[in-house]
């Protein structure tokens, strides 16, 4: 990488810091009002009780549990993509890792509040810590999610340290500069610092993969340890993990595409990146098809009394429209779209990812709701239809993810400068990285 593209990369990466154009403020305003609407719906629910939702005595888990699984799944892709790319030392990772890691944290923050939204007594949430019963999958969830969140934050922070120093050095003395200085831990780029940092990142990259797997395994066991026909399945944990990775990679593709466009990163995030991410999407999608076939084949072949009603409802009954649109539109079509050679690669990857994300949400619905609605005393099916409260909260929390990302990248570089230099090499040794100050270089 020559001087010119190096400087341009740095300029693009830091372009959004401190910048607030009309687009930024409009996005923030729209997303914030959606989040506020969701918050209003939650307050409404807390004041009145969970009866304002569509939940009932038979179907006592609904949108909230689906969303919890869904959003934590979205967060996976970010963490896993970044960790895998780092561990395999993929050279093309530099412009992607920051966006992937930030998406992971944002989606995780949103997903992790859903169990609390779902509680009948959110005021007693801390009882889970105080009276923790290690035998309960809910406690496993708490431990796994909090550990994973801690690890995700550290995993986002460590590679950020050199970039924080870069940002610090690019600023005039101010309070903000001092905050960056504190966060940068006195980074000046010595050999010893570099070694220490790489060790920390390596530990986290190795750790984040089993942690991510543990979170979705535990979420799956929330269902699989019960005696319900649609849920009591040994394949649930790997199925959930794969589903999470699939939807997560799809989310990374979309987020990267959006930031590429909005932040003008076309020169650095190229079709090549989308091709590689598409490969990842296809591989995970094929894996998911395989797991699903394995699950439904073993259950559908035996057709024992507890699973048959659920399978009937999914394949030919009430939930058949949802299931077949998921299978065809949310799984097979995106795989074909992403795999086809030819033009419009980025557009196809984005459409495929959007379909996969929608499909994976539907799939979670198909796991939670029919499994609940299947009567345990086998004589009357439960019904579930969400109310405006659940829908509003869902939209509000979904809007919170881009909001968190936009705000995050207002303060931090959107692409990792340090990592680019590490992969591509610095053009020539310099005492201080020359960084354009605010506002320069964004308008080329």
């Amino acid at each position: 990488m020559d001087h010119r593209s190096h400087d341009l990369y740095v300029a693009r990466a830091m372009w959004s810091i401190g910048r607030g154009d009309a687009k930024f403020w409009i996005s923030v305003a729209v997303l914030s009002s959606l989040v506020a609407a969701g918050f209003y719906a939650y307050v409404y629910q807390v004041q009145r009780g969970l009866w304002v939702t569509g939940l009932n005595q038979k179907v006592s888990w609904g949108f909230y549990i689906i969303n919890c699984v869904f959003f934590i799944g979205i967060s996976y892709g970010g963490a896993m993509t970044s960790a895998i790319l780092r561990l395999t030392n993929a050279k093309w990772r530099a412009p992607l890792t920051r966006i992937a890691e930030a998406t992971a944290v944002a989606a995780l923050l949103v997903g992790a509040i859903y169990p609390i939204i779902d509680l009948g007594r959110p005021d007693r949430f801390l009882y889970v810590v105080q009276y923790a019963q290690v035998g309960s999958p809910v406690v496993w969830d708490l431990v796994a999610i909090s550990t994973y969140m801690l690890a995700s934050l550290v995993f986002l922070y460590l590679p950020l340290i050199p970039d924080l120093a870069t940002t610090r050095d690019s600023m005039r003395p101010s309070l903000l500069r001092r905050i960056y200085g504190v966060l940068a831990l006195g980074w000046i780029g010595t050999v010893g610092q570099e070694r220490t940092l790489q060790r920390g990142i390596a530990i986290m990259a190795v750790l984040i993969i089993p942690l991510a797997i543990s979170v979705h395994s535990v979420l799956a066991w929330l269902f699989a340890v019960t005696a319900r026909g649609g849920w009591h399945s040994t394949i649930f944990a790997p199925l959930f993990v794969l589903a999470a990775m699939l939807s997560g990679v799809a989310a990374v593709i979309i987020v990267v595409a959006v930031f590429r466009k909005v932040y003008s990163l076309q020169q650095f995030i190229t079709a090549k990146h989308f091709r590689y991410l598409s490969y990842l999407l296809i591989a995970l999608g094929m894996g998911y098809v395989y797991f699903m076939v394995s699950e439904y084949l073993t259950e559908g072949y035996l057709l024992d009394a507890s699973t048959t009603p659920v399978l009937e409802a999914i394949f030919i009954g009430t939930y058949a429209p949802a299931f077949w649109s998921f299978s065809v539109l949310g799984l097979l079509l995106p795989l074909v779209l992403a795999a086809l050679p030819g033009r419009f690669l980025i557009g196809r990857a984005c459409i495929a990812s959007g379909l996969v994300i929608a499909g994976m949400w539907l799939k979670r619905f198909l796991i939670v709701v029919p499994g609940m609605a299947e009567p345990v005393m086998p004589w009357d099916w439960g019904r579930y239809a969400p109310t405006w409260v659940e829908v509003t909260i869902t939209i509000g929390t979904a809007a919170a993810i881009p909001l968190i990302l936009i705000l995050f990248f207002r303060f931090f570089p959107v692409m990792s400068v340090h990592e680019m230099e590490e992969v591509e090499g610095t053009p020539e040794p310099r005492g201080v990285v020359l960084v354009p100050s605010y506002g320069s270089g964004g308008d080329e």
């Binding site: 009276y131 019963q133 004589w379």
Partner: protein, 253 residues
Amino acid sequence: MTGQVSRRQLLGTLGGLGAGALAAGFVPIAFAEAEAADTGPKRQWAMVIDMRKCDGCKACTVACQETHHLPTNFEWIKVFEVHDKQGGAYFMPRPCFQCETAPCLRVCPVAATFKTDEGVVLVDQDRCIGCRMCMAACPYGARYFNYADPPVVSNPFQKPTPEFPVPQQKGTVGKCMFCVHRSVNGELPACVEGCPMKALWIGDLVEDVATNGDETVRLSTFITENDAFRYKEELGTGPRVYYIAGHGQLLDF
């Protein structure tokens, strides 16, 4: 990538932490079952439901709801009308089965659900956080969540206890508990007393006795001689409710 962690350092950290975890122990945290399963001289409550005598009048449900001040959709003992493949129909009342190894007990994150030393599964509604994991885990659908405020109880000084959770608390889970608040006073469970067909029997597995209010029998003999079965016994939950199969044939009109 030059991620170098000294192996000794890593192993030392891991070993130290592992030892710490074991030393610190999880003493205050234990499986809820640890306190269960007392085999002392106390009662071990059980129930026998004679479907040869049930005519599906739902008097048991009504009696239960009156005793516990429950709304009408809270059927802690629920009467199902079952149509079998032979074209016949019968009624199957379903209380809580007070399972020996209760799935609801194991999944509760805060031990709000616990088992008394008389084998009855109770819910401490002052502890329950309303996660509804137990409702997902119960294979019999015996648990009910208070989505809305429970009906107002006439006695404002009534303080709910796990044995007599009246009034119910919004946002928590409630269920049948064999009317342990009545049995301490020597009163039959509300449903047993309310059953006009005398189809419900409350029993004690320790003294091996069961009564429906009129007759008193030896529980084990009664179960064996009438080929009583336990619903979904194959799940290994060890339900404490026995059913005598039938379709109301012992009713005389």
